[in-house]
């Protein structure tokens, strides 16, 4: 079914089709519309979800944890400082192995206070034990949330899933979208029948008790193994999803990478802008390509190394700072993924677009210009820069 929806509308509509048991709801820009639209579905009787309006995101995630532990399917949506306020509970959800689904509409963290897009919120939560899947546009945001439960709920995984989309750029942009029939969505996600849950009288259990040192590490290793297992499960679910939608997904998307010598690695809506720039550069004979990271947790390190093995120079573009003084989080992951390659491409890191700073095709072309120089000279210094700094007389991309 063809329609036109914003990213937020698309995610709310997917949640309506899923008809989860519980939503923990607290509004924050730019994700507010998701619980708002969903509240209307509840009020109109279009879903039979228990809609729990709470006083903070700490509580909305607590609601999800309690509901999921009781054997229900729970969802929530948040952004920026809302995700930060959930921080403690994100770890609890993951370590209790509760496959909650959270729509994260990415927005810069304060301060300075800013409502626009970057990944400082979800990148801060990257080590919390949640699966993270990022969308380029409204279609992917819709598709990803439908794939979230079959991924997270599978017994070998049992981890919560955060589906991320770019605040405003995707969440508030109306674009064409293909929607699935509700019956097809419900059949795809199936019934949730967890093996263990709080209210199972045959096997009562406690959730989240103190874990002594003698066992804590075993539990963390199990969690780590689950995250490793998630990789193949994500691909299985993608293959199943292709059968009902015709749309193909992997751990990342390779765009014109077959013979690419110069490549970008980045996340989200900038990939679309980069594709347009790459098409133009290809017309001029530049062997440019793109790897758009879709799944950041688990990180597809080996696969990414294979995808980049034939390139000469690569720019990793981070839309969050990280303050490591050594490059952004995507750069750190990409560096370690490439380390064991015998012949590695030159690698630079460009931090860009913080707090919603717009990125244009011209900006992407400049990055490829620098990569072309690096491919010839081998000079990567400075390897970690910030795009478009207005205070510098001469901008280094």
């Amino acid at each position: 079914m063809s329609s036109r929806l914003s990213g937020n509308e698309a995610v709310a509509y997917a949640m309506k089709q899923i008809n989860p048991d519980v939503m923990g709801a607290f509004p924050i820009t730019p994700s507010t519309e998701i619980p708002e639209y969903f509240a209307a579905y509840v009020a109109n009787g279009e879903v039979n979800t228990e809609y729990v309006a709470v006083e903070s995101e700490h509580s909305s995630m607590s609601v999800c944890i309690a509901a999921q532990a009781a054997g229900a399917r729970a969802v929530s949506a948040t952004s920026s400082c809302g995700l930060a306020l959930m921080y403690e509970l994100l770890y609890v959800a993951a370590s209790c192995r509760l496959p909650i689904t959270l729509a994260c509409v990415n927005r810069a963290l304060s301060g300075p206070i800013n409502i626009n897009h970057d990944y400082s919120d979800s990148m801060g939560a990257r080590d919390s034990g949640w699966i993270q899947i990022y969308a380029e546009n409204n279609q992917e945001a819709y598709d990803n949330i439908i794939m979230a439960m079959p991924i997270g709920e599978t017994p070998s995984v049992r981890l919560p899933v955060m589906t991320c989309m770019d605040g405003f750029i995707t969440s508030h942009a109306v674009e064409n979208i293909e929607l699935l029939e509700t019956d097809a969505v419900r059949k795809f996600i199936g019934e949730y029948n967890p093996e263990h849950y709080l209210l199972k009288k045959e096997n009562p259990l406690a959730v989240g008790p103190y874990d002594v040192s003698a066992y804590y590490m075993e539990h963390k290793v199990q969690e780590a193994e689950a995250m490793k297992a998630a990789k193949s499960r994500i691909l299985e679910v993608a293959a199943e999803f292709e059968k009902i939608s015709g749309r193909r997904y992997g751990l990342f998307e390779e765009y014109r990478m077959e013979d690419a010598q110069l490549a970008l690695v980045l996340i989200g809506s900038t990939a679309g802008t980069a594709k347009a720039a790459i098409d133009k550069l290809r017309e001029d004979g530049v062997k440019a390509g793109l790897v758009k990271i879709r799944v950041f947790r688990p990180f597809p390190g080996e696969e990414l190394a294979r995808a980049l093995a034939g390139t000469k120079a690569v720019a990793v573009m981070d839309k969050s700072e990280g303050f490591s003084a050594n490059g952004g989080p995507l750069f750190a992951e990409t560096c370690s993924a490439l380390y064991n390659l015998k012949e590695r491409p030159y690698l630079i890191n460009i931090v860009y677009g913080l707090g919603g700073r717009d990125v244009r095709t011209e900006d992407i072309e400049k990055v490829f210009g620098r990569l072309a120089d690096i491919a010839v000279t081998g000079e990567t210094h400075p390897a970690y820069t910030h795009m478009g700094q207005r205070s510098r007389e001469e901008e280094t991309v």
């Binding site: 063809s2 329609s3 036109r4 914003s6 820009t29 409502i115 626009n116 380029e136 546009n137 770019d166 405003f168 750029i169 995707t170 508030h172 942009a173 109306v174 674009e175 064409n176 809506s269 900038t270 990939a271 679309g272 802008t273 594709k275 347009a276 133009k280 717009d358 990125v359 244009r360 095709t361 011209e362």
Partner: protein, 194 residues
């Protein structure tokens, strides 16, 4: 960087005037006609009355670019007072047009447009909306003017399709549909092409 078959429109308004809604409605109706569309707002600090910008891309092929629009084919100014504070003609393509909500004529407006030499169109969106809708709701007249001037959608089909869109949007307030439809039609007649 748009391809030739793409029309790009930039809206300038103030928070609360409905520029974003008009932009999203245009995207919706154009999408209903089988076009590929984008309609998206750009916000500064959220408050009533602050300048906001919204953008439309309408094309025959899907556009993957997700940056703002710097070289629009058309500019729609929903609030005349923005002419004093925002560079509304910035990047406007030579063959394009600017459409302004004002009781003044295109000739009267031209000297306020920083040397813009292309087409200037005006419409008194305030009066039209106050007369028909009983309130100053300039976005509906500006949407009609944008469609008429840009020719991005055939006007007859646009009116048929937007009525469908209104039926959905105003499902719980059907009394609003007739007034909005009358406003659209009258605005298409009244927009002055300079």
């Amino acid at each position: 960087m748009a391809s030739n078959d793409m029309v790009e429109i930039r809206w300038h308004g103030r928070g609360g005037q409905g520029a974003k809604m008009a932009c999203l409605l245009l995207a919706d109706v154009a999408g209903l006609e089988g076009k590929f569309v984008q309609g998206f707002p750009e916000y500064g600090p959220e408050r009533m009355g602050a300048p906001i910008t919204a953008y439309n891309r309408i094309s025959e092929k899907r556009c993957t670019i997700h940056s703002n629009i710097y070289y629009p084919d058309y500019v729609v100014v929903v609030d005349e007072t923005l002419l004093d504070s925002v560079d509304v003609t910035g990047g406007l393509k030579e063959g394009g047009a600017i459409i302004i909500n004002t009781p003044s004529s295109p000739q009267e407006m031209r000297p306020r447009l920083q040397g813009w030499t292309g087409k200037v169109c005006t419409i008194d969106a305030r009066s039209i909306s106050e007369e028909i809708l009983g309130r100053n709701l300039p976005n509906t007249p500006m949407l009609a003017a944008a469609v008429k001037v840009s020719g991005v959608l055939e006007t007859g089909r646009f009116l048929t399709n937007i009525e469908e869109s209104f039926k959905h949007k105003f499902a719980d307030k059907p009394q609003l549909i007739e007034g909005n439809m009358t406003t659209l039609k009258k605005s298409m007649e009244e927009v002055q092409l300079g």
